[in-house]
């Protein structure tokens, strides 16, 4: 159950769009009890249960959740692997002594432990992973009772076995193997051997280490926080060598602090541009540590410090100037990183153009790391049609102009009269009807004008004369440089 979207005993479905239709991928137990089944069209299910809630099926999120469970099960054994979308296998060989539990106890402990975290689990112990998985999946207590579907050979083979009247592993086990192999191939022999505990299979543990990581173990646990940054800087230097060799730079650095008592603290920093320099990395970690709400608690001390670079990308080496001087252009990136680490990413923005006709909507704020879009440039040989400076709100002005839509001849602003000597327009911009309930509003006629002193203004008539307003007002919306 995800994000508390529905109570645990509610009927609901997870759906995904397939070939234009919404199909049910999974159902809650309550929905299954209503007679619905996975694979149905949502429309068909709603025909039966009009109010069936449906949520998007997110296999990636499910898998991530499963992996989280896998990691937490590493407490029993390092050999844990996910199986398909819904199961995990623990290789407990040789673990019982260290855990101080036997098979049944581990199984019970695991199920209870998961139940406390809100997961309902079925568990079984057996001599091979396949046998254990099958017993758990089909809820049987002996291997002979398992249905032939446990072989996992595909619907074709299962149906053929059922049509032959062979429905359980027991029935298969009692038959000579050669005729079965002749019909169902080697896959059947192998699957059967795995299931009947005749042949073992190794699992591949889930744990994968990040692609770039360096660590430092301490002979004596380090009981204070102070020297930490020095260790991090040293580790970052090691990481830099790896990054340089690969032509990469880190976008995320992660420090894992392993306490002697088994607790692991993790700190991570992100950067807008790929980083390598240990000094930059340490600066970010310093900001991070200083801004922690809960200060680090070394307890009895750290015995292992690991620095990983889980996220990194290609660095295009900028060509330095030949005379070895810096280009002089101040680099914004380190500043932006520092500002973001200190104030939070949501507090730092930059302006980006927005594709809108109305000038007041034509820009927006975006996170600084996003790729900046170029601002629209006037066509070659064209003057800028929009001013650099906009008044917000536009300034009311008094204007003398011809009706219905002639250009301004003169206008008064802040007690001064301006005589218009040149003008171009109108640029007519209609009201964005979708922005308001009324859906209608005045049209604007914009004019670029130049007064007798050579100053250039951007004026608009608010409303079409006659059809929209009896006496449209005028505004100064901007001045050109």
């Amino acid at each position: 159950m995800r994000e508390g979207a529905a109570p645990p005993d509610a009927a609901f479905a997870l759906i995904a769009k397939q070939r234009g239709a919404q199909r049910i991928m999974a159902l809650s137990p309550a929905a299954l009890a209503l007679g619905l089944s996975a694979g149905m069209m949502l429309a068909d299910a709603r025909a039966l249960e009009p109010d069936l809630p449906a949520f998007e099926h997110r296999p990636a999120a499910d898998h991530a959740l499963l992996l989280r469970i896998v990691e937490s099960c590493e407490r029993y054994t390092p050999m844990v692997a996910p199986d398909r979308d819904d199961a995990l296998v623990l290789d407990l060989t040789g673990c019982f002594d260290s855990l101080g539990m036997d098979e049944d106890a581990v199984r019970g402990d695991l199920v209870t432990w998961l139940a406390r975290r809100g997961f309902r689990a079925l568990a079984a112990c057996a001599g091979t992973p396949d046998a254990a998985l099958a017993l758990a999946r089909f809820g049987k207590s002996t291997l002979r009772e398992l249905p032939v579907a446990a072989l996992g050979l595909g619907d074709d083979a299962h149906l053929a076995l059922k049509r032959a009247g062979l429905r359980t592993l027991g029935q298969l086990a009692d038959r000579p193997r050669a005729p079965l192999a002749a019909r169902f191939g080697k896959a059947m022999s192998i699957a059967l051997a795995h299931l009947l505990e005749e042949q073992d299979r190794r699992i591949t543990p889930h744990r994968t280490l990040p692609p770039i990581w360096v660590e430092q173990r301490f002979a004596e646990p380090m009981a204070t926080v102070k020297p930490l940054l020095g260790v991090i800087e040293w580790l970052a230097g090691q990481a830099r060598d790896v990054l340089v060799a690969r032509g990469r730079g880190g976008r995320r650095y992660e420090v894992s602090l392993f306490r002697t008592d088994g607790h692991v603290a993790r700190l991570a920093v992100d950067s807008g541009l790929p980083l390598r320099e240990p000094a930059d990395v340490v600066r970010l970690f310093r900001e991070r540590i200083e801004s922690l709400a809960d200060p680090l608690d070394p307890g009895f001390g750290y015995d292992l410090l690991r620095l990983a670079v889980p996220l990194h990308e290609d660095v295009s080496e900028g060509q330095d100037r030949l005379d070895e001087e810096n280009s002089g252009k101040p680099d914004l990136a380190p500043l932006l990183d520092r500002l973001q680490v200190r104030f939070g990413a949501e507090c730092v923005h930059r302006f980006a153009p927005r594709d809108e006709h109305l000038p007041e909507y034509a820009d927006r704020l975006v996170p600084p790391a996003s790729i900046p879009q170029p601002w629209p440039q006037p066509e070659a040989g064209e003057p800028p049609l929009r001013p650099l400076f906009l008044f917000d709100p536009p300034q009311p002005v008094t204007v003398l102009a011809e009706v219905p839509d002639g250009p301004p001849r003169r206008f008064g602003w802040q007690g001064r009269q301006h005589r218009v000597v040149r003008q171009e327009g109108p640029e007519r911009l209609a009201y964005p009807w979708w922005k308001t309930v009324e859906a209608t509003g005045p049209t604007r006629d914009y004019y670029r004008i130049e007064d007798s002193d050579g100053r250039r203004f951007w004026l608009f008539r608010h409303g079409l004369y006659g059809s929209e307003k009896a006496d449209p007002r005028w505004y100064l919306h901007g001045v050109f440089a």
């Binding site: 025909a47 595909g154 074709d156 049509r163 032959a164 005729p179 019909r183 911009l429 979708w434 859906a439």
Partner: protein, 1086 residues
């Protein structure tokens, strides 16, 4: 228009036929230009002329309406062209043909671009234009280089203009000056355009919505892809003059441009193809010759006087209207099909003429049947006659390819169908464009939308959890309503062919269809009507395939020859019908009509015992009466009461001095109740004093009732007209309601007649040759209403022996085999096995007989899949293998061997110890039969479950007849059909058990309580009250419904996972009952 205002004509118009780019229809554009006092308008859509006929039709209609009001319109010219949009960097060019020849150049040009690419696209290059630009005037409408402009000007001296628009984009004045200079430099005149995207400024929001739909974004996010303002509309001449004050010559140029054009759409005079006419004959002369010689062949003893009279009269009208070539063309196609042995039958107003009967186009003999009206061309309509020809559905493609080969692809094309927005798609697109989320648009689309939203629709909206007064929802509703009238794209018509004598691509552009080897023209049937082109509908009908196959089998096995027209029908006086004819009617009267054309649906089956047809015309009525038109018009019950003599036949009468019996002639054959479209029109003429033109308007309004609002004025005109002549208002209203009903589902008598003939022929075969009928039906699948299981069961009830599918006996098709009793048995074909392939069946047939499975696999070179399917369908009995053994063997039989090796080893498989598999119980055999072939000859699934149900007191379906009316009963069976017809007040479910079927009626209010069992059950138990109708139809009026599907699991020996829902649901997603599976396919096996 004041004196000093120079006239202005807009040539840059983009209408709704530039899909999602123009926000007004061509008609709206033309009428707005007329209203603004312009002397004309040019219609030029993007690389298409598909909208031009619409503009013409709208102008004509308006003119007609105005004429009726006594208003004469000022002269107004419709100029037609196209906006050429190129794939290379050529600017957009408005091309207007000046002559008929130029029109042909334009359509050739567009055809060239169309055929170069896939459906819906047109790829033009500058070279194409240079090749086809004779007799065309061009306006360069988008910025271009001086060089290109000069190149164009040289290629078409004096025919090129440079377009300039003043769209209030800020720098208009500067741009106008620049264009003026460019024009002077290139030596071409400047012309004013306003690049109109809609008729008036009020349409800007709609255009924005369309832009957002086209750009697959929302209005909020579309930004500058939307137009900045509402200036792109048709403007009055005075305003255009003011805008172009700096270049008055550009305004004057519009009149020059118009003056250079002499072509008008009406010039597209039509010439019929003259292939069918032999050298030395006129079409009329040849038609007459043909008709009279055929008539003598039919009546060697001399042509009866009545026929002579009819033929003379009809030939006279044909000659007068010049339609002989049309009849000859239809005859040519029909004759070709008949020579190929393809069954066909014509229908439509002209098809029921004596001429068509004599020429073999139709099998309905107008001499035998007293048809209502002179079913013929109406002279006042001045429209070409209309004949649709149905062909066997499996062989129609042959006919179409014949037409292409006979007339050539440049002379024959399929008409287009303009696909309009439907309310669901419109609501979804508009909702998305207005930025509503996916789930809200999905909910929107589930309700009815558009400007006709009634109280009912409001409630539906509220039920769907949406507030109809919410501004956004109201906006969606508004735009949806508008956009419903708009075309969305062009598609090909199902089979309407346009044939010409001259090159068709010089009349109309041709497109590639999505289907291979098909091309279609960009005008639809209304446009073709408007322009007076000839169209023949080449349609596909499954029943003709079935009848064709049945005739062939009867000839092979019984030695009797039939044709559609030679199946014995009834005599002129049905009371003298011979017994073998009466027996067929008796079968129909019992509602025993599974497989019979048109009358096999449950509603038709229930109607048969009530209507009790006893002559041909009763079948015509039977076909027409169970239709939404008569049902919504509440005409069915009055008709039935009168027919059953419960009610007197009275003809509503007008007040004196009008003829009291004036309606007797119109409504006589249908006992005073109007049932057919033709009667509705005739009624309006006779009783409401409509003129022919008005009746014509009414017919058009009926055809397009959903789209056009004109029905309102016709409503009051008709009701008032009838009341004025002394009819009761109530009757008048009822008549009109029925006409409205016809609007959506018009069913004219002329079609009912042709269908009734096929009802008769199929019923005749079913009764006299039930084994042939069943085999032909099964071999023509998919068609008809029922699944193979019901067809087979029905055949068995008619005494036919049905034999199982067997690898040594079955062919692909179902076949007939003599049985020891001297009758014919039906052998099921391999086609019944889901997933089997026809070429496997042929390979099997070629190397028979087989003695073991390996032999079969090797000699018929079958892949393992084929062997598995054969085994699983239990088709290996003749080689000594039952289903279980067969499958066990099949899985190890090697296939796909090289022949060399196959020959080298006679028998490769080693002996195995006997598998000793457990025996398969009969019930599981039946379940597997249903899964593989959807029927079982071994037993009915219910027979195994009977002990369970008997213990609960469940009756057999056959016992219901013996149960008294009103008694409470339980009945159970597999669900064959679920239907929720019409307004959905009741749900009809048909259950089947081992003995028969039960008809269950579930009222809508009960449905809500039992929704899940009603919708999901494949095995259903119903408790309810028995209701016997006087005609012997038995219904169970449900009181409670139980889903007993899990019982089906008892059929297999071990419980399995619950199989998926079978979709017998006509109202979730339309699913045809014939595709219903009682047991779902064994999943993913095949």
């Amino acid at each position: 228009m004041s004196l000093e205002t120079p006239p202005y004509v807009e040539f840059a118009t983009t209408t709704a036929y530039s899909f999602l780019r123009g926000a007004s229809t061509p008609g709206e554009m033309a009428l707005r230009a007329l209203a603004l006092g312009h002397p004309g308008i040019g219609i030029a859509d993007r690389n298409t002329v598909s909208g031009v006929a619409r503009a013409l039709a709208a102008l004509r209609r308006f003119e007609e309406e105005m004429e009726a009001e006594g208003v004469t319109l000022p002269p107004f010219r419709l100029l037609v062209g196209a906006r050429l949009v190129f794939a290379d960097d050529t600017p957009e060019i408005l091309a207007y043909p000046t002559t008929r020849y130029g029109w042909g150049r334009l359509t050739r040009l567009l055809t060239t671009g169309n055929l170069r690419t896939t459906k819906g696209n047109c790829e033009l290059r500058l070279g194409d234009l240079l090749e086809f630009l004779e007799d065309m005037q061009l306006i360069v409408a988008t910025p271009t280089s001086d060089a290109l402009l000069r190149q164009l000007a040289q290629a078409a001296p004096g025919k090129v203009w440079l377009g300039a628009a003043m769209l209030r984009q800020g720098r208009d004045a500067r741009r106008l000056a620049a264009l003026r200079e460019q024009a002077a430099l290139a030596g071409v005149p400047l012309i004013a355009i306003n690049d109109a995207l809609y008729d008036g400024p009020e349409s800007r929001p709609l255009h924005d919505v369309m832009t957002a739909i086209r750009e697959k974004t929302t209005v909020q996010a579309a930004g500058r892809r939307l137009t900045a303002n509402a200036e792109r509309h048709l403007k009055p001449a005075a305003e255009m003059a003011r805008l172009f004050a700096a270049a008055p010559e550009a305004i004057a140029a519009t009149a020059d441009f118009m003056g250079g054009i002499v072509f008008k759409l009406e010039d597209l005079s039509y010439t019929y193809p003259h292939e069918p006419v032999p050298y030395g004959y006129t079409p009329q002369g040849w038609l007459e010759e043909l008709v009279w010689s055929r008539a003598s062949d039919l009546h060697p003893q001399g042509i009866p006087e009545k026929l002579t009279r009819l033929l003379t009269e009809e030939l006279g009208i044909i000659g007068q209207q010049g339609y002989a070539a049309y009849f000859l063309t239809v005859h040519d196609i029909v004759q070709w099909a008949q020579i190929q042995g393809i069954l066909c039958q014509g229908r439509g107003s002209a098809a029921n003429s004596a001429v068509c009967f004599v020429l073999g186009v139709t099998a309905v003999d107008p001499m035998k049947h007293n048809l209502l009206f002179s079913r013929f061309i109406s002279t006042e309509r001045k429209e070409p006659p209309d004949i649709d020809v149905d062909f066997e559905h499996e062989r129609r493609e042959e006919v179409m390819q014949y037409i292409y080969s006979r007339y050539g692809r440049e002379r024959a094309g399929i008409a287009a169908t303009v696909i309009h927005y439907r309310s669901r798609s419109a609501a979804r697109d508009v909702g998305k464009a207005l930025g509503l989320s996916e789930d809200v648009t999905a909910r929107l689309a589930s309700t009815v939308w558009g400007s006709y939203a009634s109280e009912y629709d409001r409630n539906r909206c509220i039920e769907a959890g949406l507030d109809p007064d919410n501004p956004t929802i109201a906006r969606v509703n508004h735009f949806t309503g508008t956009i419903l009238n708009f075309p969305r794209h062009l598609s090909q018509h199902v089979g309407g062919f346009v044939l010409t004598q001259d090159r068709l691509d010089e009349t109309v552009p041709i497109h590639n269809a999505a289907m291979e080897k098909r091309t279609f023209i960009e005008w639809d049937k209304d446009d073709i009507d408007t322009l007076g082109l000839m169209k023949v509908d080449i349609l596909a009908l499954g029943m003709l395939t079935c009848i064709g196959k049945a005739f062939a089998m009867i000839e092979t096995h019984i030695g009797r020859q039939y044709q559609l027209s030679s199946v014995p029908g009834d005599e002129e006086d049905h009371r003298s019908n011979p017994p073998h004819v009466r027996a067929v009617y008796e079968m129909l009267q019992k509602g025993d009509s599974i497989g019979v054309f048109q009358v096999e649906s449950r509603a038709q089956m229930n109607m048969l015992p009530r209507l009790r047809p006893e002559r041909f015309y009763d079948l015509v009525i039977q076909v027409a009466i169970v239709r939404p038109g008569p049902i919504e018009g509440d005409m069915v019950h009055p008709y039935l009461r009168r027919r059953q003599k419960i009610e007197d036949v009275i003809y509503p009468s007008p007040a004196p001095p009008h003829d009291r019996d004036e309606l007797r002639g119109v409504l006589g054959e249908t006992l005073g109740v109007p049932l057919f479209q033709e009667q509705a029109m005739r009624l309006a003429i006779t009783a409401a004093n409509f003129s022919d033109a008005e009746a014509n308007q009414l017919r058009r309004a009926m055809a397009t009732f959903r789209n056009v609002g004109t029905i309102g004025s016709l409503h009051s005109k008709m009701v008032n007209g009838m009341v004025a002549r002394g009819y009761e208002k109530d009757f008048a209203e009822r008549c009109f309601q029925q006409i409205k009903g016809f609007g959506s589902y018009g069913f004219p008598e002329s079609h009912a007649l042709a269908f009734a003939r096929l009802v008769w022929v199929s019923a005749y075969i079913k009764h006299h040759y039930p084994e042939v009928f069943a085999a032909a039906l099964l071999n023509s699948q998919p068609m008809g209403f029922y699944a193979p299981a019901q067809i087979v069961r029905c055949a068995q009830e008619h005494g036919v022996e049905v034999r199982t599918i067997d690898a040594n006996h079955s062919e692909w098709d179902c076949t007939l085999e003599p049985n020891p009793k001297g009758a014919l048995a039906l052998r099921l074909g391999l086609r019944q096995i889901s997933g089997f392939r026809e070429n496997w069946a042929e390979q099997i047939k070629a190397h028979r007989p087989y003695t073991n499975l390996e032999d079969l696999a090797r000699r018929a070179s079958l892949p393992q899949r084929a062997l598995n399917l054969l085994a699983d369908a239990d088709a290996l009995h003749s080689i000594g293998l039952d289903r279980r053994e067969g499958l066990w063997e099949a899985r190890r039989t090697p296939t796909g061997e090289l022949p060399l090796f196959a020959a080298a080893r006679a028998r490769e498989l080693g002996e195995e110890p006997h598998a000793a598999l457990p025996a398969m119980p009969l019930s599981e055999e039946v379940a597997a039969d249903y899964q593989t072939t959807r029927l079982s000859l071994k037993a009915h699934p219910m027979s195994f479950l009977r002990p369970v149900f008997a213990a609960e007191g469940v009756l057999r379906c056959t016992d219901l007849a013996k149960t008294r009316n009103g008694k409470r009963v339980k009945v159970a069976g597999v669900v064959l059909v679920r239907q929720r017809p019409g307004k959905g007040n009741a749900i009809f479910v048909t259950l089947e058990d081992e003995g028969g079927i039960a008809n269950v009626v579930i009222w809508a209010r009960l449905f809500e309580t039992y929704r899940r069992p009603v919708m999901a059950a494949r095995l259903m138990l119903v408790e309810g009250l028995i209701q016997h109708s006087p005609e012997g139809v038995i219904h169970v009026m449900a009181q409670s419904i139980h889903d007993r599907t899990p019982e089906l699991k008892r059929l297999s020996e071990v419980h399995e996972a619950e199989p998926q829902l079978s979709r017998a649901d006509e109202f979730v997603r339309p699913q045809h009952p014939r595709n219903v599976r009682v047991l779902p396919r064994s999943r993913d096996f095949h």
